[in-house]
Point group: C3
């Protein structure tokens, strides 16, 4: 008798969840359809629910800047005007990060102002180390670019996809590779 | 008196949210347990709620194709049959993107048919530029591969992890690196 | 008459959704504000709702380990103590994956114990192939590192950002690049 009751309770939990899931699915479908009609795009739920310009404004980023909702923002991050920050990005401002105006921070870009190398290899004994990063105005960071702590990237620089920037970059540079080096062929 | 009321209202908001969060957590746990039992995997909430074959079907992709819910799909994207599109991907069809059948589009792959390089370095004056991309049948694009606008990748090609494809690729090619070059050692 | 009713029903659906979305937005805002106050970070909704130490514990990972909620975990994954697993990661244990203690598995890392290369180029005829991976204690895997099936990485190794590890790595190695090679300059 008791066992049967437990079984019934279980299926109640399941039934409630199924109803809830159906409701969430309907909401998702209606949001997708609207986005598809208006902007011809199909995005993760979070991007359909929320507004990426609002997120940027709440973070104090400059007018016209936007940041996708799959971006992880840590610590003190300052961003200028009209900068586009894509999905799957990490903006680590724990050591102080400043990004200029009219930058294109492509999907998958990760910018760090700390690292955990010493933390890992000492088994947690060494502390993290920190250094600020500064990205100038009018910069293009391609998809999956990683910028290490302490780096300054001068204005109007272009960093190619999947590059790793380990040292300072002069203004109007064009870089590519791991580690990123001047891309002389394309200058 | 008035202040006390405000305080009470605040805590009501908090209490309601905590109850809501508890409900969402229970839903999440029940979905995780089911996925773990059935498929031995532990995935982000969105993948537990929705079906990636349904998403592909709604986008008009071919029979048997699937696309994870963390994928961002823009513009005109056509995909053949039985193609697998992983998490953290970007399919940009704003300049026209066609992907064949039986392709493996690994996690983190980003395929572009436009870029914002000139937009950034001119401070928003230059327009974006567009060019179509075509991925043939039976291709393997490894994790985090980036494909630039205008590129054609021939059928049965293999592109290694973290590579960047900047120019056309003949059928049955095997490429690796930034930029991706023929991987002669492994041919 | 009938048409008018359909119209009214439609707008009811829309109105209900808008109310629902407003509720979700309020919940999101309250969670963001709390996270910002406590930890000075602004994260995707899923990270605000759930706890990454709880997730690690449910997966049987060692004490003090954590795994972000945007991580995809497949199959048999064993993780030691105090290991940090970042966002946008893939832990594929379908061929058996063991990660040690005090590892730093950075954002975007993908570790594989199978691949679908043959599956793709044979049009689904060839089966996937599997091989186990073992990451020793005190290892640092940088952002977007990809580890291929069958690889052993010895303890206290450092793998630089955007590297691809295709073969075994001795303990205390320092590697970088695609494919990852010893980084002799920095030793």
């Amino acid at each position: 008798m008791k066992e049967k009751k437990v079984e019934e309770e279980k299926s109640d939990v399941l039934r409630t969840n199924l109803r809830k899931i159906e409701k969430i699915k309907k909401l998702y479908e209606s949001l997708r359809e609207e986005m598809q009609k208006r902007w011809e795009r199909d995005l993760p739920l979070e991007e359909l629910l929320f507004d990426r310009w609002e997120r940027a404004a709440k973070l104090g980023f400059g007018k016209g800047s936007s940041v996708y909702h799959s971006c992880y923002v840590y610590g003190d991050v300052k961003v200028g005007k009209n900068t586009w920050i894509g999905p799957f990005t990490v903006l680590d401002g724990t050591g102080g990060l400043k990004i200029g105006s009219y930058c294109s921070i492509s999907a998958g870009v990760q910018i760090y102002t700390h690292d955990t190398v010493q933390w890992a290899i000492t088994g947690g004994k060494a502390a993290n180390s920190y250094a600020p990063v500064r990205i100038g105005d009018y910069c293009y960071l391609g998809p999956n670019v990683v910028v290490s702590k302490g780096v300054k990237i001068g204005a109007r620089s272009i960093v190619g996809a999947n590059s790793v920037v380990l040292s300072n970059v002069l203004p109007r540079s064009k870089l590519f590779g791991c580690p990123a080096r001047p891309d002389s062929d394309n200058r």
